[in-house]
Protein backbone atom coordinates (compact mmCIF):
# COMPACT_ATOMS: atom_id res chain seq x y z
CA UNK A 1 0.00 0.00 0.00
CA UNK A 2 1.14 3.51 -0.77
CA UNK A 3 1.27 6.16 1.92
CA UNK A 4 2.15 9.77 1.37
CA UNK A 5 2.96 12.33 4.00
CA UNK A 6 4.18 15.82 3.59
CA UNK A 7 4.76 18.73 5.87
CA UNK A 8 6.36 22.14 5.80
CA UNK A 9 8.85 23.76 8.12
CA UNK A 10 9.94 27.34 8.49
CA UNK A 11 13.57 26.76 7.59
CA UNK A 12 15.43 26.82 4.28
CA UNK A 13 16.36 23.41 2.86
CA UNK A 14 19.99 23.34 3.88
CA UNK A 15 19.10 24.31 7.43
CA UNK A 16 16.30 21.78 7.60
CA UNK A 17 18.67 19.05 6.46
CA UNK A 18 21.20 20.05 9.07
CA UNK A 19 18.67 19.62 11.82
CA UNK A 20 17.56 16.27 10.44
CA UNK A 21 21.16 15.20 10.81
CA UNK A 22 21.02 15.67 14.56
CA UNK A 23 20.16 12.17 15.72
CA UNK A 24 19.49 13.24 19.27
CA UNK A 25 16.65 15.36 18.04
CA UNK A 26 15.32 12.93 15.46
CA UNK A 27 15.59 9.84 17.66
CA UNK A 28 12.58 10.59 19.91
CA UNK A 29 10.41 10.61 16.80
CA UNK A 30 11.09 6.96 16.21
CA UNK A 31 9.80 5.06 19.23
CA UNK A 32 10.10 1.34 18.99
CA UNK A 33 13.03 1.36 16.61
CA UNK A 34 16.67 0.61 17.33
CA UNK A 35 19.69 0.73 15.12
CA UNK A 36 21.78 -2.34 15.80
CA UNK A 37 24.51 -2.24 13.18
CA UNK A 38 25.94 0.15 10.67
CA UNK A 39 27.01 -2.18 7.90
CA UNK A 40 28.46 0.53 5.73
CA UNK A 41 27.67 4.10 4.80
CA UNK A 42 24.60 3.01 2.88
CA UNK A 43 23.29 0.01 4.79
CA UNK A 44 22.00 -0.42 8.31
CA UNK A 45 20.53 -3.15 10.43
CA UNK A 46 17.94 -2.55 13.06
CA UNK A 47 14.82 -3.72 14.80
CA UNK A 48 11.40 -2.27 15.28
CA UNK A 49 8.51 -2.91 17.63
CA UNK A 50 4.99 -2.25 16.39
CA UNK A 51 1.67 -2.72 18.13
CA UNK A 52 -1.11 -3.64 15.74
CA UNK A 53 -4.13 -3.70 18.04
CA UNK A 54 -3.89 -6.67 20.38
CA UNK A 55 -0.64 -8.02 19.00
CA UNK A 56 2.88 -6.78 19.60
CA UNK A 57 5.15 -7.43 16.65
CA UNK A 58 8.93 -7.22 16.56
CA UNK A 59 10.67 -6.90 13.22
CA UNK A 60 14.39 -7.36 12.58
CA UNK A 61 15.72 -6.13 9.31
CA UNK A 62 17.89 -4.03 7.07
CA UNK A 63 17.57 -0.69 5.39
CA UNK A 64 19.72 0.71 2.64
CA UNK A 65 20.01 3.68 0.37
CA UNK A 66 19.40 2.62 -3.21
CA UNK A 67 19.50 6.15 -4.52
CA UNK A 68 20.84 9.46 -3.22
CA UNK A 69 20.71 12.84 -4.80
CA UNK A 70 22.48 15.10 -2.39
CA UNK A 71 22.27 18.22 -4.48
CA UNK A 72 18.52 17.95 -4.80
CA UNK A 73 17.80 16.61 -1.31
CA UNK A 74 16.28 13.33 -2.39
CA UNK A 75 16.77 9.81 -1.16
CA UNK A 76 15.31 6.42 -1.89
CA UNK A 77 15.57 3.85 0.86
CA UNK A 78 14.55 0.20 0.84
CA UNK A 79 13.83 -1.47 4.15
CA UNK A 80 12.96 -5.06 4.81
CA UNK A 81 12.18 -6.88 8.04
CA UNK A 82 11.14 -10.28 9.30
CA UNK A 83 8.90 -10.74 12.33
CA UNK A 84 10.93 -12.18 15.18
CA UNK A 85 8.41 -14.92 16.04
CA UNK A 86 7.89 -16.01 12.47
CA UNK A 87 4.65 -14.17 11.89
CA UNK A 88 5.63 -12.74 8.54
CA UNK A 89 7.54 -9.86 7.08
CA UNK A 90 7.40 -6.28 5.92
CA UNK A 91 8.98 -4.41 3.03
CA UNK A 92 9.02 -0.67 2.73
CA UNK A 93 10.17 1.45 -0.18
CA UNK A 94 10.59 5.00 1.09
CA UNK A 95 11.26 8.13 -0.90
CA UNK A 96 12.27 11.26 0.99
CA UNK A 97 12.49 14.61 -0.69
CA UNK A 98 12.82 18.15 0.49
CA UNK A 99 12.26 21.25 -1.58
CA UNK A 100 12.20 24.92 -0.95
CA UNK A 101 8.74 26.25 -0.28
CA UNK A 102 7.00 29.49 0.59
CA UNK A 103 7.20 28.65 4.27
CA UNK A 104 10.78 27.42 4.06
CA UNK A 105 11.04 23.75 3.22
CA UNK A 106 8.52 21.13 2.24
CA UNK A 107 9.33 17.54 3.16
CA UNK A 108 7.61 14.67 1.39
CA UNK A 109 7.76 11.03 2.46
CA UNK A 110 6.27 8.45 0.10
CA UNK A 111 6.14 4.95 1.53
CA UNK A 112 5.23 1.80 -0.38
CA UNK A 113 4.55 -0.80 2.30
CA UNK A 114 3.98 -4.53 1.83
CA UNK A 115 3.22 -7.00 4.59
CA UNK A 116 3.25 -10.73 4.10
CA UNK A 117 2.57 -13.83 6.18
CA UNK A 118 0.28 -14.17 9.21
CA UNK A 119 0.56 -10.51 10.13
CA UNK A 120 -1.01 -9.63 6.82
CA UNK A 121 -3.54 -12.46 6.84
CA UNK A 122 -5.20 -12.11 10.23
CA UNK A 123 -8.77 -11.46 9.22
CA UNK A 124 -9.71 -8.77 11.67
CA UNK A 125 -6.80 -6.53 10.85
CA UNK A 126 -6.82 -6.59 7.06
CA UNK A 127 -8.86 -3.49 6.68
CA UNK A 128 -6.89 -1.59 9.22
CA UNK A 129 -3.26 -2.22 8.32
CA UNK A 130 -3.25 0.69 5.93
CA UNK A 131 -4.61 3.09 8.51
CA UNK A 132 -2.20 1.88 11.18
CA UNK A 133 0.72 2.35 8.79
CA UNK A 134 -0.63 5.74 7.79
CA UNK A 135 -0.90 6.75 11.42
CA UNK A 136 2.66 5.66 12.10
CA UNK A 137 4.06 7.71 9.26
CA UNK A 138 1.90 10.69 10.21
CA UNK A 139 3.07 10.56 13.82
CA UNK A 140 6.63 10.35 12.68
CA UNK A 141 6.21 13.28 10.31
CA UNK A 142 4.33 15.31 12.95
CA UNK A 143 7.08 14.70 15.45
CA UNK A 144 9.75 15.71 12.96
CA UNK A 145 7.93 18.89 12.13
CA UNK A 146 6.78 19.86 15.59
CA UNK A 147 9.69 18.75 17.73
CA UNK A 148 12.74 18.36 15.58
CA UNK A 149 12.58 20.96 12.88
CA UNK A 150 11.26 23.75 15.09
CA UNK A 151 14.19 23.55 17.49
CA UNK A 152 16.73 24.81 15.08
CA UNK A 153 19.25 26.31 17.47
CA UNK A 154 22.26 24.96 15.63
CA UNK A 155 23.21 22.30 18.17
CA UNK A 156 26.40 20.47 17.28
CA UNK A 157 26.15 17.24 15.41
CA UNK A 158 27.73 14.23 17.08
CA UNK A 159 28.67 11.25 14.96
CA UNK A 160 27.09 7.85 15.65
CA UNK A 161 29.68 5.40 16.93
CA UNK A 162 29.87 2.43 14.58
CA UNK A 163 27.69 -0.44 15.73
CA UNK A 164 26.02 1.57 18.49
CA UNK A 165 22.38 1.08 19.26
CA UNK A 166 19.88 3.83 19.88
CA UNK A 167 17.14 2.18 21.89
CA UNK A 168 13.66 3.61 22.20
CA UNK A 169 11.07 2.09 24.42
CA UNK A 170 7.57 2.73 23.23
CA UNK A 171 5.38 1.57 20.38
CA UNK A 172 5.01 1.87 16.61
CA UNK A 173 6.82 3.54 13.69
CA UNK A 174 9.63 1.67 12.07
CA UNK A 175 11.07 4.20 9.76
CA UNK A 176 13.29 5.22 12.63
CA UNK A 177 16.26 3.16 11.64
CA UNK A 178 16.37 5.22 8.52
CA UNK A 179 17.15 8.27 10.60
CA UNK A 180 20.29 6.83 11.99
CA UNK A 181 21.11 6.26 8.37
CA UNK A 182 20.05 9.70 7.25
CA UNK A 183 22.20 11.19 9.94
CA UNK A 184 25.28 9.38 8.79
CA UNK A 185 24.51 10.29 5.23
CA UNK A 186 24.35 13.94 6.12
CA UNK A 187 27.53 13.69 8.07
CA UNK A 188 29.10 12.58 4.84
CA UNK A 189 27.31 15.39 3.03
CA UNK A 190 28.63 18.15 5.20
CA UNK A 191 31.79 16.93 6.83
CA UNK A 192 33.07 13.61 5.64
CA UNK A 193 34.46 12.47 2.36
CA UNK A 194 32.15 11.37 -0.44
Amino acid sequence: MKLENSFEVAAPPAEAWAVLVDVERVAPCVPGASLTEIVDENAYKGSMKVKLGPVSLAFDGEAKFVERDDANFRAHIKAEGREAKGRGGAQADVEFSLVESAEGSAVTIITDLTLNGPVAQYGRSQGIIASVAEEMVTRFADCLRDKVLTQNDGAAVSPPPTGATTEQNTSASGIGILFGALKRWFKNLFGGGS
Binding site: P54, G127, S131
Partner: protein, 272 residues
Protein backbone atom coordinates in the same frame (compact mmCIF):
# COMPACT_ATOMS: atom_id res chain seq x y z
CA UNK B 1 0.65 -8.21 38.01
CA UNK B 2 0.02 -6.12 34.94
CA UNK B 3 2.50 -3.59 36.22
CA UNK B 4 5.01 -6.29 37.02
CA UNK B 5 5.05 -8.23 33.78
CA UNK B 6 5.95 -6.86 30.42
CA UNK B 7 4.07 -8.33 27.46
CA UNK B 8 1.15 -9.72 29.46
CA UNK B 9 -2.40 -10.22 28.22
CA UNK B 10 -5.43 -10.47 30.46
CA UNK B 11 -7.55 -13.59 30.17
CA UNK B 12 -11.20 -12.78 30.80
CA UNK B 13 -13.68 -14.86 28.78
CA UNK B 14 -10.92 -15.87 26.39
CA UNK B 15 -13.27 -15.80 23.41
CA UNK B 16 -11.02 -13.49 21.44
CA UNK B 17 -7.67 -14.05 23.13
CA UNK B 18 -7.59 -17.85 22.87
CA UNK B 19 -8.38 -18.00 19.12
CA UNK B 20 -5.66 -15.41 18.47
CA UNK B 21 -3.22 -17.42 20.52
CA UNK B 22 -4.24 -20.60 18.75
CA UNK B 23 -3.40 -18.94 15.46
CA UNK B 24 -0.04 -18.02 16.95
CA UNK B 25 -0.96 -14.48 16.08
CA UNK B 26 -0.81 -13.15 19.64
CA UNK B 27 2.05 -14.66 21.61
CA UNK B 28 2.24 -12.95 24.99
CA UNK B 29 4.93 -13.81 27.48
CA UNK B 30 2.37 -13.90 30.30
CA UNK B 31 -1.37 -14.48 30.56
CA UNK B 32 -3.17 -13.15 33.63
CA UNK B 33 -6.38 -15.00 34.43
CA UNK B 34 -8.96 -12.75 36.10
CA UNK B 35 -11.80 -15.26 36.17
CA UNK B 36 -11.82 -15.61 39.95
CA UNK B 37 -12.56 -12.04 40.98
CA UNK B 38 -16.24 -12.05 41.94
CA UNK B 39 -16.19 -8.36 42.85
CA UNK B 40 -16.06 -7.41 39.17
CA UNK B 41 -18.61 -9.95 37.96
CA UNK B 42 -21.74 -8.24 39.25
CA UNK B 43 -24.51 -6.17 37.72
CA UNK B 44 -25.62 -3.53 40.21
CA UNK B 45 -28.26 -0.88 40.21
CA UNK B 46 -26.89 2.56 41.00
CA UNK B 47 -28.38 5.96 41.39
CA UNK B 48 -29.29 6.78 37.78
CA UNK B 49 -28.15 3.63 36.08
CA UNK B 50 -26.63 0.21 36.05
CA UNK B 51 -23.05 -0.72 36.77
CA UNK B 52 -21.59 -3.74 35.03
CA UNK B 53 -18.46 -5.36 36.38
CA UNK B 54 -15.90 -6.09 33.67
CA UNK B 55 -16.25 -9.85 34.13
CA UNK B 56 -20.03 -9.87 33.55
CA UNK B 57 -20.63 -12.51 30.86
CA UNK B 58 -22.64 -11.58 27.77
CA UNK B 59 -25.41 -14.06 28.61
CA UNK B 60 -25.45 -12.95 32.22
CA UNK B 61 -26.33 -9.44 31.06
CA UNK B 62 -28.59 -10.59 28.24
CA UNK B 63 -30.73 -12.78 30.53
CA UNK B 64 -30.75 -10.40 33.49
CA UNK B 65 -34.18 -9.11 34.55
CA UNK B 66 -32.57 -5.94 35.81
CA UNK B 67 -30.99 -5.25 32.43
CA UNK B 68 -34.22 -6.10 30.60
CA UNK B 69 -36.07 -3.63 32.78
CA UNK B 70 -33.55 -0.77 32.83
CA UNK B 71 -31.49 -1.16 29.64
CA UNK B 72 -33.64 -3.18 27.22
CA UNK B 73 -31.47 -2.15 24.26
CA UNK B 74 -28.57 -4.01 25.84
CA UNK B 75 -30.63 -7.11 26.58
CA UNK B 76 -31.78 -7.18 22.95
CA UNK B 77 -28.52 -6.15 21.29
CA UNK B 78 -26.61 -8.91 23.06
CA UNK B 79 -28.62 -11.53 21.16
CA UNK B 80 -26.48 -10.59 18.19
CA UNK B 81 -23.19 -11.32 19.89
CA UNK B 82 -21.59 -14.39 18.29
CA UNK B 83 -23.07 -17.69 19.47
CA UNK B 84 -24.48 -18.93 22.77
CA UNK B 85 -21.32 -20.80 23.76
CA UNK B 86 -19.26 -17.69 23.23
CA UNK B 87 -21.77 -15.58 25.13
CA UNK B 88 -21.57 -17.92 28.10
CA UNK B 89 -17.86 -17.23 28.56
CA UNK B 90 -17.21 -13.91 26.86
CA UNK B 91 -17.33 -10.80 29.00
CA UNK B 92 -18.30 -7.18 28.61
CA UNK B 93 -14.87 -6.08 29.82
CA UNK B 94 -13.13 -8.34 27.37
CA UNK B 95 -15.26 -7.22 24.44
CA UNK B 96 -14.81 -3.55 25.21
CA UNK B 97 -11.05 -3.84 25.87
CA UNK B 98 -10.45 -5.96 22.76
CA UNK B 99 -12.44 -3.37 20.80
CA UNK B 100 -13.05 -5.26 17.59
CA UNK B 101 -14.57 -2.78 15.09
CA UNK B 102 -17.68 -5.00 14.78
CA UNK B 103 -18.29 -5.60 18.47
CA UNK B 104 -21.82 -4.90 19.67
CA UNK B 105 -21.04 -3.78 23.22
CA UNK B 106 -19.23 -0.56 22.23
CA UNK B 107 -22.25 0.59 20.20
CA UNK B 108 -24.73 -0.38 22.92
CA UNK B 109 -22.63 1.54 25.43
CA UNK B 110 -22.14 4.53 23.13
CA UNK B 111 -25.91 4.89 22.70
CA UNK B 112 -26.17 5.22 26.49
CA UNK B 113 -23.13 7.54 26.92
CA UNK B 114 -21.57 5.00 29.26
CA UNK B 115 -18.56 5.68 31.46
CA UNK B 116 -15.73 3.17 31.73
CA UNK B 117 -13.86 2.65 34.98
CA UNK B 118 -10.18 1.94 34.60
CA UNK B 119 -7.82 0.92 37.34
CA UNK B 120 -4.10 0.51 37.66
CA UNK B 121 -2.08 -0.54 40.68
CA UNK B 122 -2.07 2.97 42.10
CA UNK B 123 -4.86 4.91 40.48
CA UNK B 124 -8.39 4.93 39.15
CA UNK B 125 -9.75 6.91 36.28
CA UNK B 126 -12.95 7.20 34.31
CA UNK B 127 -13.19 7.36 30.55
CA UNK B 128 -16.23 8.44 28.56
CA UNK B 129 -17.18 5.90 25.89
CA UNK B 130 -16.69 8.58 23.26
CA UNK B 131 -13.00 8.74 24.21
CA UNK B 132 -12.44 5.03 24.55
CA UNK B 133 -11.22 4.10 21.09
CA UNK B 134 -7.68 5.34 20.33
CA UNK B 135 -7.40 3.49 17.04
CA UNK B 136 -7.71 0.02 15.60
CA UNK B 137 -8.37 -2.36 18.51
CA UNK B 138 -6.60 0.05 20.81
CA UNK B 139 -8.59 1.26 23.79
CA UNK B 140 -7.74 4.15 26.08
CA UNK B 141 -5.72 1.96 28.41
CA UNK B 142 -2.16 2.67 29.46
CA UNK B 143 0.38 0.01 30.35
CA UNK B 144 -0.65 -1.58 33.60
CA UNK B 145 -4.27 -0.46 33.42
CA UNK B 146 -7.33 -2.64 33.31
CA UNK B 147 -11.03 -2.02 32.75
CA UNK B 148 -12.87 -3.01 35.90
CA UNK B 149 -16.41 -1.79 35.33
CA UNK B 150 -18.81 0.22 33.21
CA UNK B 151 -21.53 2.60 34.40
CA UNK B 152 -24.50 2.90 32.10
CA UNK B 153 -26.89 5.81 32.69
CA UNK B 154 -30.41 4.58 32.13
CA UNK B 155 -32.99 6.26 29.94
CA UNK B 156 -36.47 7.19 31.24
CA UNK B 157 -38.82 4.31 31.93
CA UNK B 158 -40.82 3.42 28.85
CA UNK B 159 -38.13 4.54 26.39
CA UNK B 160 -37.96 2.76 23.07
CA UNK B 161 -35.04 1.03 21.34
CA UNK B 162 -33.94 -0.82 18.23
CA UNK B 163 -30.91 -2.76 17.06
CA UNK B 164 -30.05 -4.14 13.65
CA UNK B 165 -26.87 -5.54 12.16
CA UNK B 166 -25.94 -7.28 8.93
CA UNK B 167 -23.71 -10.32 9.10
CA UNK B 168 -23.33 -12.85 6.32
CA UNK B 169 -24.27 -15.61 8.72
CA UNK B 170 -25.85 -15.05 12.10
CA UNK B 171 -23.06 -14.87 14.62
CA UNK B 172 -20.41 -13.66 12.16
CA UNK B 173 -18.71 -10.32 12.61
CA UNK B 174 -21.21 -7.72 11.44
CA UNK B 175 -20.46 -5.66 8.36
CA UNK B 176 -22.37 -2.81 9.98
CA UNK B 177 -24.85 -2.42 12.81
CA UNK B 178 -26.93 0.27 14.45
CA UNK B 179 -28.22 0.75 17.98
CA UNK B 180 -31.02 3.26 18.55
CA UNK B 181 -32.62 4.73 21.66
CA UNK B 182 -35.67 6.96 21.39
CA UNK B 183 -37.67 8.67 24.10
CA UNK B 184 -41.07 10.12 23.38
CA UNK B 185 -42.99 12.96 25.01
CA UNK B 186 -46.49 12.46 23.71
CA UNK B 187 -46.20 11.88 19.95
CA UNK B 188 -42.89 13.65 19.57
CA UNK B 189 -39.36 12.40 20.08
CA UNK B 190 -37.64 14.32 22.83
CA UNK B 191 -34.41 12.37 23.02
CA UNK B 192 -32.54 10.20 20.53
CA UNK B 193 -29.30 8.28 20.29
CA UNK B 194 -27.95 6.43 17.26
CA UNK B 195 -24.68 4.46 17.53
CA UNK B 196 -23.10 2.48 14.70
CA UNK B 197 -20.72 -0.46 14.80
CA UNK B 198 -18.60 -2.14 12.14
CA UNK B 199 -17.84 1.05 10.27
CA UNK B 200 -14.85 2.52 12.08
CA UNK B 201 -12.29 1.73 14.75
CA UNK B 202 -14.83 2.46 17.48
CA UNK B 203 -18.58 3.03 17.86
CA UNK B 204 -19.85 6.05 15.94
CA UNK B 205 -22.59 8.33 17.25
CA UNK B 206 -24.57 10.46 14.78
CA UNK B 207 -25.31 13.73 16.58
CA UNK B 208 -26.49 15.54 13.41
CA UNK B 209 -28.94 12.76 12.68
CA UNK B 210 -30.11 12.64 16.29
CA UNK B 211 -30.86 16.36 16.42
CA UNK B 212 -33.10 16.06 13.34
CA UNK B 213 -35.39 13.81 15.36
CA UNK B 214 -35.86 16.07 18.36
CA UNK B 215 -39.33 17.59 18.61
CA UNK B 216 -40.58 15.62 15.60
CA UNK B 217 -43.03 12.82 15.06
CA UNK B 218 -41.33 9.83 13.43
CA UNK B 219 -42.55 9.95 9.84
CA UNK B 220 -41.14 7.61 7.20
CA UNK B 221 -39.51 10.50 5.40
CA UNK B 222 -37.84 11.73 8.55
CA UNK B 223 -36.52 8.29 9.45
CA UNK B 224 -35.11 7.89 5.94
CA UNK B 225 -33.45 11.31 6.09
CA UNK B 226 -32.01 10.57 9.52
CA UNK B 227 -30.76 7.12 8.52
CA UNK B 228 -29.07 8.51 5.43
CA UNK B 229 -26.66 10.42 7.68
CA UNK B 230 -25.08 7.07 8.54
CA UNK B 231 -23.33 7.00 5.18
CA UNK B 232 -20.90 9.64 6.40
CA UNK B 233 -18.84 7.06 8.28
CA UNK B 234 -15.29 6.11 7.29
CA UNK B 235 -16.11 2.48 6.61
CA UNK B 236 -13.65 -0.40 6.58
CA UNK B 237 -12.23 -2.08 3.47
CA UNK B 238 -11.47 -5.76 3.81
CA UNK B 239 -12.04 -9.09 2.09
CA UNK B 240 -15.62 -9.27 3.35
CA UNK B 241 -16.83 -5.89 2.09
CA UNK B 242 -15.64 -2.56 0.79
CA UNK B 243 -15.90 0.60 2.82
CA UNK B 244 -18.49 1.88 0.36
CA UNK B 245 -20.67 -1.18 0.90
CA UNK B 246 -20.41 -0.80 4.65
CA UNK B 247 -21.50 2.81 4.36
CA UNK B 248 -24.58 1.69 2.43
CA UNK B 249 -25.36 -1.03 4.93
CA UNK B 250 -24.95 1.40 7.83
CA UNK B 251 -27.78 3.48 6.38
CA UNK B 252 -30.03 0.43 6.03
CA UNK B 253 -29.27 -0.78 9.56
CA UNK B 254 -29.84 2.67 11.02
CA UNK B 255 -33.16 2.82 9.28
CA UNK B 256 -34.21 -0.65 10.50
CA UNK B 257 -33.19 0.14 14.08
CA UNK B 258 -35.15 3.40 13.98
CA UNK B 259 -38.20 1.63 12.59
CA UNK B 260 -37.97 -0.99 15.32
CA UNK B 261 -37.85 1.70 17.96
CA UNK B 262 -40.90 3.40 16.49
CA UNK B 263 -42.77 0.08 16.17
CA UNK B 264 -42.06 -0.75 19.79
CA UNK B 265 -43.42 2.62 20.78
CA UNK B 266 -46.53 2.11 18.67
CA UNK B 267 -46.98 -1.35 20.09
CA UNK B 268 -47.09 0.14 23.54
CA UNK B 269 -49.51 2.85 22.51
CA UNK B 270 -51.79 0.26 20.94
CA UNK B 271 -51.75 -1.94 24.01
CA UNK B 272 -52.54 0.95 26.35
Amino acid sequence: MLAEFEDAKILAGGQSLMPMMNFRYVMPEHVIDINRIPEIAQIEETDGGLKFGAMVRHNQAKDSELVAAKCPLIAYGLEFVAHVQIRNRGTIGGSVSHLDPSAEWPALLAAHDAVLHVRSKDANRDVQIAEWSMGFMTPNLEEGEMLIGISVPTWPAGHSYGFAELARRKGDFALAGAAVLLNFAGDKIDRAAIALTGVDTGPVRLPDAESLLIGEGPSDELLQEVASKASAVAGIDDVHATAAYRQKIAVVMARRALEQAVARRNGKAMAA
